[in-house]
């Protein structure tokens, strides 16, 4: 198994965190993983993106030019990267900010994660909801596994653990329901 993915959005949407959590999860569960952040050429602002590769074997190129999977939080990012998603690839989009693209050769999962997050009381967990959906859809990890990793990640911030746990389960439920 080698899953090459790209995660993108704009600053503040938790793009990097999402990628890192998946990396932690892979690392925790004895998979190979490679996370590479990309910063815009300008120092601040602009799009934010990262690539993440999860694999059972040692990873060759850490560069993702053709992605198996994408997770996109903003239309501008979608516009930039959609052509890099391989035919047959899987696309997660934040439907609050992105339009479903016209490509017919891919599977699109569009979720209004901004709205859902707001409903849950914290704008900031939109990316975690998406993560839940990802796990449920791809089964790269079990729900327990990702929850376990998240627990680690939020070890030092117990005050936000609860809402993040809720968010991940919310994401899972969106797919499983």
């Amino acid at each position: 198994m080698e899953q090459r993915m790209k995660i993108a959005g704009i600053g503040g949407q938790g793009v990097m965190v999402t990628g890192k959590i998946l990396g932690y999860a892979a690392s925790d569960h004895d998979k190979f993983a490679s996370f590479l952040p990309q910063y815009g050429t300008q120092m601040r602002g602009g799009t934010s993106s990262c690539t993440l590769i999860i694999a059972d074997e040692e990873i060759g190129s850490p560069i993702v030019s053709t992605a198996d999977l994408m997770m996109i939080f903003q239309q501008s990012a979608l516009d930039t990267y959609i052509h890099q998603l391989k035919s047959g690839g899987l696309l997660f989009i934040n439907s609050n900010t992105c339009k479903v693209p016209e490509r017919k050769d891919i599977k699109v999962i569009a979720l209004p994660v901004d709205d859902l997050a707001k409903e849950m009381g914290s704008k900031q967990v939109a990316n975690i909801i998406m993560l839940g959906a990802y796990v449920a859809e791809t089964k790269t990890f079990t729900i327990e596994e990702i929850v376990h990793t998240l627990q680690h990640v939020f070890e030092t911030k117990p005050q936000v653990w609860e809402i993040n746990e809720k968010a991940i389960l919310k994401g899972v439920s969106l797919i499983e329901s």
Partner: protein
């Protein structure tokens, strides 16, 4: 032992601490800032000292001081900073001091771009300073390998009494990967005998280091001692990874991040029925000439020298290894631009086309 998911720079820093590094001096420069940042907090925790040097120059000279005192010491920087350290590097080598220096390469020349690149190959392996000295140069291609090589570099630098350079690229520095960290080594200060002007005049007792040598004959004698040291390193420390070479007709030569892209490309090429292989130098000096010398020119049709550098640099050593027996083609990107496996595959396919 469970793995940690760590950023290359931080993993390098932690590996150094575990290898017994107890002194670090460095000056900020992207893309290696996490190394000093991490160590500014970490070293005091283990009883070590961190100094943000007022410059790269000051930093390498602080390392010279710490090394003289017998402490395992390190500094890190990127391109322009390495240039500023080159007088100090020459001096570390001239004095025969152990120390580890990290270069997380960015675009260049000049101030250049802050993104990852491999523009400092020749500086690292040939003339990174005056006086014809040599550094033992390790080039990791994964975060795990960076950790392992940094860990080992300290021992090697003490074994040979010669500074070691970790030549990483900005991608290795900023990528996060799972790593298994090595155990903590005892970090005892250890005074070593110092090469000295008194070394030759045979007045023992005091530790006296002078790379300024007034007596010409003594300086020449010391140059010979150094040359022998380099011979020894060249004999014992060459390392490379050979990948799918047995029947390879097209061999990619690449190190660091480029080699990883190359590896993916080799796999893709094999899937397409093209017999591709890879030579990945792990030590850049001493260079694994032998890997290239033993390539069979009747089997190997072309060599692709793959580098994140324009103009190509690695190619010089490959030429020395190949001795004109096999054509060499260079393909490079630079300044943070990086080739994809597909792009590399295409380049090899071009060579295949040429040979038809």
């Amino acid at each position: 032992m469970s793995k940690l998911f760590m950023k290359g720079n931080e993993a390098i820093a932690e590996a150094a601490v575990r290898a017994g590094c107890r002194f670090f001096a460095g000056y900020p420069i992207t893309p290696q800032n996490e190394i000093p940042e991490y160590l500014s907090k970490r070293l005091p925790e283990v009883g070590g000292a961190f100094v943000q040097g007022e410059s790269e120059l000051a930093s390498i000279n602080m390392v010279i001081g710490a090394a003289f005192g017998g402490t395992r010491a390190m500094t890190s920087s990127s391109g322009p900073g390495l240039s500023l350290k080159s007088e100090g590097l020459s001096t570390l080598a001239a004095a025969g001091f152990p120390a580890v220096v990290v270069n997380v390469m960015r675009g260049g020349p000049g101030t250049g771009s802050i993104s990852g690149a491999q523009m400092d190959y020749l500086q690292a392996t040939k003339g990174g300073g005056h006086g014809g000295f040599k550094l033992l140069v390790f080039a990791p291609s994964t975060v795990q390998e960076a950790v392992d090589l940094v860990y080992e570099a300290f021992d090697k630098s003490w074994e040979y009494m010669n500074p070691c350079l970790i030549l990483a690229d900005g991608f290795i520095g900023s990528i996060m990967e799972p790593v298994e960290l090595p155990p903590f080594k005892e970090a005892k200060r250890q005074e070593f005998p110092v090469y000295t002007t008194r070394f030759f005049t045979d007045k023992p007792g005091r530790r006296m280091c002078a790379t300024m040598i007034v007596n010409e004959a003594e300086q020449e004698q010391w140059n010979r001692v150094q040359a022998q040291r380099y011979e020894r390193i060249a004999q014992n420390e060459v390392r490379a990874e050979e990948y799918m070479l047995d029947d390879a007709e097209y061999v990619i030569a690449a190190y660091g991040t480029s080699a990883r892209v190359a590896k993916s490309a080799v796999r893709m090429l094999r899937e397409k029925g093209i017999k591709a292989g890879l030579i990945r130098p792990i030590t850049l000096w001493p260079f694994p000439y032998q890997c290239f010398k033993k390539l069979n020119e009747k089997q190997v049709k072309d060599i692709l020298c793959l580098e994140l550098s324009i103009p190509p640099q690695l190619i010089e050593d490959i030429k020395i290894g190949i001795e004109g027996r096999i054509p060499i083609t260079a393909y490079g990107r630079s300044a943070g631009m990086i080739f994809t496996a597909e792009e590399v595959t295409e380049q090899v396919e071009k060579l295949v086309g040429k040979n038809k």
